[in-house]
Symmetry: C2
Subunit: 413 residues, 2 copies
């Protein structure tokens, strides 16, 4: 039995007209003889409506009750879509997270999937051709409803595809695939026909909002073939796959940028063992993710420590630092939110040197000052002044020739 998983986001299920297009996709796939799991999000705007309702009623809504509230959004989508399919003589039924069940931990609002009863689903396929599953939701061992966080329906889809060993997990969205960079910033951006899971992870964590990061981790872990494509066209989109030699032969796959960075600098702290720890341990304890960190070389027993956090965490981070800065001997504390991060991403970097040099040189040629640098195996990130962001993205895109289909070099090294 071939199973295809198809996930449709909020804009794809916004109204009856959109849902009819979704039904057309489902019919097409049924004609190929596959059974289908359709994952739906809440109708566009519904989740926001429910959140503002909760805010009206409660200053501090309990996360467990928020999840009871928010799961109604998907519940409405799947029941309506299942009615529509049955009206059109397609054998279908809706399924909520707890009915399968999709078991999660009890981190309300950001739960993680623990297991899925795929036997139950396979049994339902004896009487149904389409199972319409509510995305974004599950339940814990005590039958409490849970949600998987914003974009969680992507993870629902990939997890169900993994559990059912689906031939493909199609993520339908309002863009037609993953691009080398944001086409709004760089008109030369090119749709990628394939992207490695690791590259997609970097792209997603850098603000490319096509997929929830956790869904990509899940796809990588269980080697789920994911196809990101448009609800409103029949063109193929972008396949997420394990990296292979062909991909590794390409220097760079994409350019990402992140506008949510804020920089904090502690000036002239004592350059002693344990100073870094006393800064970053309370950050971690407060759940603040520190991204880039730079410590300058010591001058007369003192040094500067600079690091970046998410803009939304800046105030909390500043309050933590204020408390400890005297103990560290700091002579100053500066923060800056007029900074952005641009990143060059590609699994090819694992085998090629010189990518950083090309990046730095091309930015320098445009007089763009690099404030901080961080690198990983497949990524080089530069913190720059906010005003240069779009220029930097276009410059890097051109420097690595991303507007052209890559020439497969044939493993020449």
């Amino acid at each position: 039995m071939d199973v295809v998983v198809q996930k449709f986001g909020g804009s794809s299920v916004a109204d009856l007209e959109c849902m009819q297009q979704v039904m057309a996709k489902v019919k097409q796939t049924l004609q190929q003889g596959s059974k289908i799991v359709v994952i739906l999000s809440a109708m566009a705007g519904e989740t926001d409506r429910l959140i503002s309702l909760a805010k009206e009623w409660s200053k501090t809504p309990r996360p467990e009750e928020m999840d009871v509230l928010l799961t109604t959004g998907e519940q409405i989508s799947v029941s309506l879509f299942s009615m529509l399919l049955n009206d059109n003589r397609i054998k279908a039924r809706s399924l909520l997270g707890f009915q399968i069940p999709i078991h999660t931990d009890n981190s309300f609002g950001k739960a993680r999937i623990l297991d899925i009863d795929h036997e139950y689903l396979r049994n339902l396929f004896k009487k149904n051709d389409v199972l319409v599953v509510a995305g974004f939701q599950g339940c814990d061992v005590s039958r409490n409803l849970t949600t998987l966080g914003r974009g969680g329906s992507d993870t629902s889809a990939v997890a169900l595809a993994a559990a059912l060993q689906a031939s493909v997990c199609e993520i339908y969205t309002d863009v037609d695939g993953v691009y080398t960079t944001d086409p709004n910033v760089c008109p030369q951006a090119r749709k990628l026909s394939r992207i490695a899971y690791d590259e997609m992870l970097e792209m997603a964590s850098m603000g490319a909002k096509v997929l929830q990061i956790r869904s990509v981790e899940f796809a990588k872990k269980y080697n789920v073939p994911v196809h990101v494509r448009s609800t409103f066209s029949d063109e193929p989109g972008t396949f997420l796959v394990q990296e292979d030699q062909e991909m590794e032969s390409v220097l760079v796959s994409g350019i990402a940028y992140d506008k949510d960075q804020a920089r904090i600098t502690l000036v002239d702290v004592f350059d002693e063992p344990g100073v870094a720890a006393s800064v970053f341990e309370p950050m971690a304890a407060a759940g603040i993710v520190v991204d880039m960190i730079v410590q300058n070389p010591s001058r007369e027993g003192r040094t500067d420590i600079t690091f970046t956090v998410h803009k939304g965490d800046l105030e909390r981070a500043r309050r933590i630092i204020e408390k400890i800065k005297d103990n560290l001997g700091a002579r100053g504390l500066f923060t800056d939110t007029n900074v952005n991060k641009v990143s060059v991403i590609g699994v090819g970097m694992r085998n090629h040197s010189g990518v950083a040099a090309i990046a730095f040189k091309s930015l320098q040629a445009e007089d763009i000052n690099i404030l901080m640098i961080s690198t990983s195996e497949i990524k080089i990130s530069c913190l720059i002044e906010e005003k240069y962001t779009e220029l930097a993205v276009r410059t890097l895109h051109e420097a690595f020739g991303l507007e052209k289909e890559p020439q497969v070099t044939g493993f020449s090294e």
Copy 2:
């Protein structure tokens, strides 16, 4: 541990302001040291909104999917109310039907409760003072969501009160109790301080929309003390109780009327064995409830059969009769929707004769013609012309002195 069950209908949970009044009731009861199960309906208008959404999407919405859709209404109410209570430092949590679980059969849209896991609820009271339960919903053995039909939250409340052996099941509504008759028709109508389950059953089945009939049956079966009262006042309302000698000493408790009757007459059918069966068997098979039936004395081997059905079933009933009327030798088929039923109700009739005589005589005095009569142990119903309905109600109310508190006669017979 004393448990009180409090059920609030849609108009009591219409918005934040109403919900704060509900919270005030809950706080009052907590101060008396009881644990509370609060049953909520969907916010006023929400169920209708969902039904019209379904109709937009589907010509023939599947009942099982309707139940998935409709249960979201109560789900939203209970999560919001639970947030509100916690914001006000009341330890509470929401509970959906499937979480308890409230097991039902799988008659989607009109399911019947089979059992309730009260141990689970008792355990939850160790950590919570208030359990906010979604009314109207349950689940079958296969984890399918079910609903109990319009007004089903009343039945949820009574069933939970029975399962938990609650000291009282309070049904809060927008009227302040059960009246001797509809005060809109008869300004002399008087609020009853007590009413017997059987009387309430007759009142409810006659269109007194205070309680779902099934909830009254449930209360009677498990002897649950039910208190019908107003959300918007502190006055006591009406208690539903087992009948006792004091009640039996009262001749009549109330006057009800039903505007949903339609009359069908088959003229001059053969007066043979089996004729009645051939009329009413196909009605029963089609799920049409036949209320009053009259067969006239035979004239020359022929007779008339007259019966009433719910107005909404008239067309289906007529189609059934059209098919069989020639076989019955019928010389005519008449239908009439300009008829209403008025009923005199009281458990006292079991011990008193002469009630029918008083009723007929008082109607006659106003020149109201009685078209059909049916009686039960505790009820006398008369079908009359629609235009006389209000007059008949007022006439009967006065004839039995219902405007006055009953004089307890002291079992004089």
